[in-house]
């Protein structure tokens, strides 16, 4: 018998949609030219890239020439933050970010600190939200970059990007970067991007392939490239374009935006059901993060359990979840996000992230709650409190 599979790790990565796979196979085998080649095969590939650029721009409500393709969210974040900091160095060396960013942002700031920049890390409250007053206080005349994530990948808290942008834009020399990797395709961004100069996206979080992402760079914003070479992407990102990846990204984005409202509603419903199911049926459970937040992320601590053990117990029932951020789990680090939110050691140790997709059913959710009830109960027998 096939085991039931309930993939609840969509914030780590997603299964690639058929539409995206088809677009990729076409680019791999038919439109396989190099966009830089002068002949028709090159033009065909170039058109795929430009069409994709237009699509993404449309979904963000920005101009096509403001979209640059990269190899993923990590590169977009590195390019945006380092590129902005280096380009603006002469205006100042102060930077601001939050204490709950993804490692691909946090580690960049650590690196910049080593290079002589100074960084203010904004705190968050117990729900995972920054304080705008604190941001206002932190900005100094020599602040050249502020980077704030839109949706947190561990707890789903949504930051007040629009209000932050208003505050930041008081300072003419400051560039504002937003890591929107977990927000794109999940919540509405279009009305909220004024005042944002740089915004990172990644394909594999929205049913597209790994290894491709994009950076929005507002027209007129100058940043220093990380790669030098053939001058692709207007010189901002040299290297033969990942045409199949870009085709897949575009097809996935199209699918997401065609179904935006329905999928958002569906995920909210599933999340609500999972949350209520767990909190009401399993004792000693604690919600981490906001009551609402992003529609696809739910983080709950099962007190008196070790998350990693619970993860493996669920896995044996075909249920895939995560403990904190996928990226840091290998290193078995305690979640810096939950720590910043003031969670206790016990809460952090027992924290599980469930991340949803519209391809799940109510039965999947109910099955998960059932199994959780059983396994948490079982586990608690052995873990000392």
């Amino acid at each position: 018998m096939e085991m039931k599979e309930v993939y609840l790790d969509n914030s780590a990565t997603t299964k690639v949609a058929k539409e995206a796979v088809d677009a990729m196979v076409h680019a791999l085998t038919v439109a396989f030219g190099n966009p830089s080649s002068l002949h028709r095969k090159g033009m065909e590939a170039e058109k795929i890239v430009n069409k994709a650029r237009e699509k993404l721009a449309l979904f963000l409500g920005v101009k096509a020439r403001e979209i640059y393709f990269t190899s993923g969210g990590t590169e977009s974040n590195n390019l945006a933050i380092k590129g902005a900091a280096y380009a603006r160095r002469r205006y100042g060396k102060h930077l601001i970010t939050t204490s709950i960013e993804h490692p691909s942002v946090l580690e960049v700031f650590k690196q910049l600190e080593e290079e002589g920049f100074s960084v203010t890390y904004l705190d968050v409250d117990e729900k995972g939200h920054i304080n705008l007053e604190e941001l206002k206080q932190a900005i100094k005349p020599d602040t050249v970059v502020v980077s704030i994530m839109y949706v947190n990948n561990e707890v789903g808290s949504i930051q007040p990007i629009q209000d932050a942008a208003k505050i930041i834009s008081q300072n003419k020399n400051t560039l504002f970067h937003v890591d929107a990797v977990q927000a794109f395709g999940k919540i509405s961004l279009i009305p909220n991007l004024s005042g944002v100069h740089l915004l990172s996206l990644s394909a594999h979080k929205i049913y597209g392939p790994k290894g491709v992402g994009a950076l929005f760079v507002r027209e007129g914003t100058k940043i220093t490239p990380l790669f030098n070479g053939g001058g692709q992407e207007e010189g901002l990102r040299s290297g033969t374009e990942n045409v199949p990846g870009i085709a897949g990204f575009s097809a996935a984005a199209e699918l997401v935006f065609k179904n935006f409202g329905a999928w958002q509603a569906k995920m909210r419903e599933l999340k609500e059901r999972l949350k209520t199911g767990i909190l009401s049926e399993i004792p000693d459970t604690v919600l981490n993060g906001p009551d609402d937040g992003a529609p696809h992320i739910l983080n709950i601590s099962f007190l008196g359990t070790k998350a990693e053990v619970l993860l493996h117990a669920l896995e044996s029932h075909g249920i895939y979840v995560s403990t904190g951020s996928a990226c840091s789990s290998h290193k078995n680090a305690r979640s810096h996000v939950l720590a910043a939110m003031g969670k206790t050691a016990e809460e952090i140790e027992g924290a599980i992230r469930f991340s949803l997709s519209p391809f799940l059913s109510i039965e999947d959710i109910d099955y998960t709650v059932e199994i959780l009830k059983k396994e948490v109960n079982e586990l608690r027998k052995y873990v000392r409190r």
């Binding site: 002068l38 028709r40 033009m43 170039e46 058109k47 409500g61 020439r65 279009i190 009305p191």
Partner: protein, 388 residues
């Protein structure tokens, strides 16, 4: 509170008996430009057009700014017909502009006389309400920074922003012309200028693969797409010019090549224009920029034209043209570097002041009628829809 846009139109207001005709075209163009947005409703009363539409305000305004005939766009608040609603709508409207440290006045118009309060009193009451609720504003009735407009009609409307529109006349109100479009900076601007006078355009492009690449053709299509943003759709006629070019290149006196080419282009364009009912040709020529645009060269090209040739850039210099190209959004596309036939079919020592006699003599070697047939049998027509 619902968002609506008040549009004023200048020139067409003056057109007396033709006015309904222009207004009809303008309304059609507005609807076309806002196609795809939900809840679109366009109505007209008393020299104003009212647009109700859902959709992000920036985007709506961006599109309306591309509709020739509109002189100003005012995003307005509409409200119920009672003074309290009007007061709070006015407050909201002021909050949306940068009001700190500015002066203002309230201007009211009451076309709906069943409303019990008279205009000056409305102004006074609304002004007092704003002063009471917002800090950093003061009144100046003579030279205000902000003019808060209140209109009392079948509903109340309040606005304080007046965004300039493109002016001109609605496209389609003044016949049709054919634009000779190259991939360069000038010709799209020329097309824009003529469209602004209400003239609908179609475009013709001379493709000469393999001397020009297919990317050059794509570039022209892109330019059409931007231009079509001002009029909805443009039909692009792509003429296969290769054989003509080859024969001219092989047999023609090298120093007259550019002139001979341009004369052929005008002749071919003319045939197309006649077929599609266009009454004139449009080119991006201005005086003295390049060898083919000296007075003598222009005379030599013009000689074969039976239709009027509009050259709206004739008195412009490069800087002015570039500025306009940037404004209308064609510049970035025009400067993309794709080699065109110039690199081969450019005379080494072009005649800058060609004599008509020499040109006539040179053309005797060619079967002009044959050229025309050859080119006209080979026209690809592409419908290009506008991008915004």
């Amino acid at each position: 509170m619902e968002s609506i846009y008040l549009l004023s139109f200048g020139e067409i207001g003056l057109k007396g008996e033709n006015r309904p005709f222009f207004e009809r075209i303008l309304i059609k163009r507005i609807k076309q430009a806002l196609e795809g947005f939900e809840g679109l409703d366009v109505t007209k009363t008393h020299g104003r057009i009212y647009v109700r539409v859902a959709g992000p305000q920036d985007e709506v305004i961006e599109r309306l700014k591309k509709v020739f005939g509109i002189v100003a766009i005012s995003p307005a608040k509409s409200c119920d017909l009672d003074i309290e609603s009007i007061k709070s709508a006015a407050l909201e409207a002021v909050k949306e502009v940068d009001y700190k440290g500015k002066t203002f006045k309230v201007e009211s118009r009451r076309t709906n006389k069943s409303f019990p309060i008279k205009s000056p009193d409305i102004s006074r009451m609304v002004g007092a309400h704003i002063l009471k609720n917002l800090k950093g504003l003061s009144v100046d009735v003579h030279n205000p920074d902000i003019e808060v407009n209140v209109e009392v009609r079948e509903k109340g409307f309040v606005y304080c922003k007046r965004i300039p529109g493109p002016g001109g006349l609605p496209v389609g109100s003044n016949g049709k012309a054919l634009l000779l479009l190259s991939g360069g900076i000038d010709s799209p601007v020329a097309g824009y200028m003529v469209m602004k006078r209400g003239v609908a355009i179609e475009a013709v492009y001379f493709h000469s693969f393999p001397f020009t690449s297919d990317r050059a053709k794509e570039k022209v299509i892109e330019l059409c797409r931007v231009l079509a943003g001002y009029c909805g759709k443009i039909r692009l006629h792509v003429v296969n010019f290769t054989d003509v070019l080859k024969e001219l290149g092989e047999k023609g006196p090298n120093e007259l090549l550019t002139i001979l080419m341009r004369r052929m282009m005008v002749r071919i364009s003319q045939e197309i224009a006649t077929k599609i009912g266009a009454k004139a040709l449009i080119t991006g020529e201005s005086i003295g920029q390049v060898a083919s645009q000296t007075m003598e060269a222009l005379v030599a090209t013009n000689e074969v034209a039976k239709l009027p040739v509009f050259r709206p850039l004739i008195g412009f210099d490069k800087v002015e043209i570039i500025e306009l190209a940037k404004k209308i959004g064609t510049y970035d596309i025009s400067i993309e570097p794709y080699a065109d036939c110039c690199s081969i079919f450019v005379p080494e020592h072009p005649k800058t002041r060609p004599k008509l006699d020499d040109v006539h003599k040179a053309e005797e070697r060619f079967d002009i009628e044959g050229f025309l047939r050859m080119s006209l049998d080979n026209v690809e027509v592409i419908e290009v829809t506008g991008s915004y």
